[in-house]
């Protein structure tokens, strides 16, 4: 289907129908990962390391196994196959299954407090708890390191003796540095030397958790012949299937994974933790096993995103033209390599048209839980530094902060710092919309300040499958393979309804399990409305072609003589014949006679995803005596391509902004002197509560991505990028102090105000 250039022709796309999953969710009927029960289900629990770093000398589960009610215990040595060091392109980015398996269940060493050491299945939760207390693990405790710079320093405790860093010369001795990346354009140092004004700053962030309201949950049931059912909270049922197959050496065809309704993922559920354990336990016990993480486990043992340190330098001419820019950044990956340092470097300056730029980074392991993706992985971190520095630059130049961005804005034809040239993008339009928004010029009172920051994310396409079926009465069923974390299933129904020309209420979407629909990549990367939407549109188009053929058969004319309009087959012209339009339902009623059931499944690897840009304006009021920051007003402007269902798009923007605000103000991982997380609950891990925030105004700019039939650009990840610096810049404006480290919690603000430096 060609790109629909005229949005005003659209009847369903762009409207705001009621979501199909709404009633189930608000009445409690929706089936989340912990809600399914099967006869004879056992409770599975995980024994976790109390040490931040230790060698596992021995594990003796004999007393636990002797406890009545205990049906199975699994350990890596006893129950998980050895995986040789293997990088496999699986899912969105390369996964090292050896590391993944060792993270799911420790082998030889525990690398963080909370690292899984053994798992137990028992008839009751209380018995499982008692069994865990009876498992004897002997550890040889080792020195640990948490902080990224300490982990890079000489003499740091080494996590992996066999770690050979990529992207740099071999260091010749054991190291915690897993990777070096560098992206360059021109000569950044020469560019900086030409500048009239240079700003330089060091910025630091800590690990923050994705904070999904629903902990990881799974129920798995393995038959003696190997056929396995898994029902789990996840961003990818095919990912679970593949990862379980690799980790436990099982045939993929034997594994059927149903994605449950999900209470948030944000990237944190794009990998496995409990699933291989539940399957291994079920296989051994001969019964279904259900496992649900406690909130404490979610914090300690599931990946937050990285924290890190960076130095940013930006130089410009007096008129604001940036002549050179650099960022040097190191991110913690947690126990195994894989921090998002590459995207952090690629996105850092992506909003700007720069001839001389260098972004260099290190991926560093340390004794904390292995990080997982979190909404635009890496980009919020580097943008915090870059957008703070841009604010400093604007001040030094005496320029309006938005004008400085406009002066250097990336546009179609700009060569990005990471290489490719941008096609048509909407950054200038976003900046214009921000500048002309009443928020930008609204008056401020005492102790109040305003900050602005921008952000970029690539958005991706990838493997997606969708089917469209015509039911006997002409209603439509749409099945797609993408777990719905942002309203995508409603969008699939809307796009199918648009193509078919039928009302949205006649199209019911579901998310298929791995046996019901073709392979589909994970829900993440802001790809679903784009890629799965594209597959859905193509499937709907094929159905339209088939419907036209059937009408032609009924009218006994050539299929070329039939058009499809507003849900009806119509003769293409007067020559075709004087037939009355034939509605879809009428064709459906005769499907059997005209060739059989009408439906189509499409599997694609969607290409041509369009990048997204955002600009956020934030007003704060700072209580200078207590450091308390109040967010007074927040406006998030973003180029969304085309909003299929604007309420969902606004919701994604508001949600990302809120997570970014929490990241900026109060969220952090705190460790005690033994390397154990000190604040593993929502009482002391402080995400914003509803009363903390004003209404977030989402402004949708639509510069369509013509590669998608409706112009869709991914939207879910961009909104978490600008808030960190937007809030920091607002605090600077309100107090005169530049904060260089996150979170900007009250004690740090008070200390900064008192000393004059953040």
């Amino acid at each position: 289907m060609n790109f629909v250039a005229n949005f005003s022709d659209l009847k369903v796309v762009g409207t705001r129908p009621v979501r199909p999953d709404g009633i189930d969710k608000v009445t409690g009927k929706a089936m989340f990962g912990a809600d399914l029960s099967m006869a004879g289900t056992l409770t599975g629990k995980v024994l976790r390391s109390p040490h931040a770093h230790a060698r596992i000398v021995s594990i003796d589960a004999s007393k636990a196994l002797a406890l009545p009610g205990v049906k199975a215990v699994v350990t890596a040595a006893g129950d998980f196959p050895e995986i040789s060091s293997e990088e496999a392109a699986a899912g969105e980015s390369p996964v090292n299954f050896r590391h993944m398996a060792h993270n799911v269940l420790a082998r030889d060493k525990v690398l963080y407090e909370g690292h899984a050491v053994a798992a137990v299945a028992a008839t009751t939760s209380a018995i499982a708890d008692a069994a865990m207390a009876l498992i004897d693990v002997t550890y040889e405790v080792l020195p640990f390191v948490i902080d990224v710079e300490a982990a890079m320093a000489d003499g740091a405790p080494i996590l992996h003796d066999d770690l050979v860093p990529s992207g740099m010369a071999a260091p010749g001795k054991p190291t915690n540095i897993a990777k070096r990346v560098e992206f360059k354009l021109g000569d950044a140092e020469a560019g900086l030397a030409e500048a009239d004004v240079v700003v330089e700053g060091r910025y630091e962030t800590t690990a923050v958790h994705q904070g999904y309201i629903e902990p990881h949950a799974v129920i798995a049931s393995v038959n003696p012949d190997g056929q396995t059912q898994i029902f789990a909270s996840s961003q990818g049922q095919f990912m679970i299937r593949q990862y379980v197959s690799k980790i436990l050496n099982m045939d993929i065809a034997n594994i059927r994974v149903t994605p449950a309704e999900i209470g948030g993922g944000f990237g944190g559920k794009t990998l496995v933790y409990l699933e291989p354990l539940a399957v291994a336990l079920s296989r051994k016990a001969g019964k279904p096993v259900k496992m649900v993480m406690t909130r404490d486990e979610v914090f300690r043992s599931s990946g937050p995103t990285s924290g890190g340190v960076m130095t940013v330098k930006i130089g410009a001419k007096k008129d604001g033209t940036i002549t050179g820019a650099t960022i040097d950044i190191a991110l913690q990956a947690g126990a195994f390599p894989g921090s998002p340092v590459a995207p952090a470097c690629m996105c850092a300056f992506a909003c700007y048209d720069l001839k001389n730029v260098r972004a260099s980074g290190y991926d560093v392991v340390s004794n904390r839980s292995k990080i997982a993706a979190y909404r635009a992985p890496g980009a919020p971190i580097s943008s915090f530094g870059v957008e703070s520095a841009m604010d400093e630059l604007a001040t030094k130049l005496g320029m309006d902060a938005l004008e400085l961005r406009q002066k250097n804005a990336a546009k179609a034809g700009t060569k990005a710092a990471y290489g490719p040239v941008f096609p048509e993008i909407g950054f200038e339009q976003v900046l214009d919309a921000a500048k002309s928004h009443p928020h930008w010029s609204a008056p401020l009172g005492p102790n109040q300040g305003r900050g602005v920051a921008t952000g970029f994310w690539f958005n991706i396409g990838g493997d997606s499958s969708a089917s469209v079926f015509v039911n006997e009465d002409g209603t439509i069923s749409v099945v797609s393979g993408s777990p719905d974390i942002g309203g995508s299933r409603a969008s699939m129904a809307m796009m199918a309804a648009e193509v078919l020309g039928v009302p949205y209420e006649k199209v019911r979407p579901i998310v298929g399990d791995t046996a019901q629909i073709g392979i589909t990549g994970m829900t993440g990367g802001s790809r679903v409305t784009f890629a799965t939407g594209m597959a859905t549109v193509q499937a709907a188009e094929k159905v339209v072609d088939e419907l036209k053929k059937r009408a032609a058969m009924i009218w006994d004319i050539s299929p070329e003589a039939v058009d499809w309009k507003d849900g009806e087959a119509v003769p293409a012209g007067a020559n075709a014949g004087g037939f009355d339009p034939m509605p879809l339902a009428a064709i459906a009623a005769k499907a059997g006679k005209t060739g059989g059931p009408i439906g189509s499944e499409v599997s694609i690897n969607a290409q041509g995803a369009g990048a997204g840009f955002g600009a956020h304006i934030c007003d704060v009021e700072v209580d200078q005596e207590t450091g308390h920051v109040k967010i007074l007003r927040y406006t998030a402007v973003q180029d969304v391509g085309k909003a299929i269902h604007p309420s969902y798009v606004e919701g994604q923007i508001q949600g990302g902004a809120v997570q970014g605000i929490g990241w900026a103000l109060n969220e952090e991982y705190l460790y005690d002197k033994n390397g154990r997380m000190d604040n593993s609950g929502f009482l002391d891990y402080r995400v914003p509560v509803a009363s903390d925030l004003p209404m977030i105004e989402a402004v949708l700019v639509e510069v369509p991505n013509k590669r998608h039939p409706f112009g869709v650009r991914g939207v879910g990840e961009v909104p978490i990028i600008p808030p960190l610096a937007a809030v920091a810049n607002a605090i600077k404006a309100a107090t005169g102090v530049r904060m260089h480290s996150l979170p900007m919690s009250p004690p740090k603000i008070v200390a900064a105000i008192e000393s004059g430096k953040g």
Partner: protein, 82 residues
């Protein structure tokens, strides 16, 4: 002949400091094979870890992609998301 640049330094162990190449290839798959014949092992590395941008449009996992004659090709690290 498309001009190919490799971003990111993850390929350093195969290609050293050089980052720009002229490669005789009309499809992404041919490109990978050509590069692999010049730098053994690079092909698999690109296959598994890199995405391709053709005149600015990023593609991941697309052997059949046609490379226009004078296109500017960038190989960049594959992008995941959250």
């Amino acid at each position: 002949m498309p001009k190919v640049s490799i971003s990111g330094s993850s390929c350093r162990q195969f290609i050293g400091e050089q980052t720009e190449f002229e490669v005789e290839a009309t499809s992404f798959r041919r490109l990978i094979r050509e590069l692999d014949s010049r730098f053994p092992g690079l092909g698999e590395h690109i296959d598994e870890t890199m995405a391709i941008a053709i005149d600015g449009e990023i593609h991941q996992d697309a052997y059949g992609l046609q490379l226009p004659a004078d296109s500017e090709i960038f190989l960049i690290p594959k992008i995941g998301g959250g």
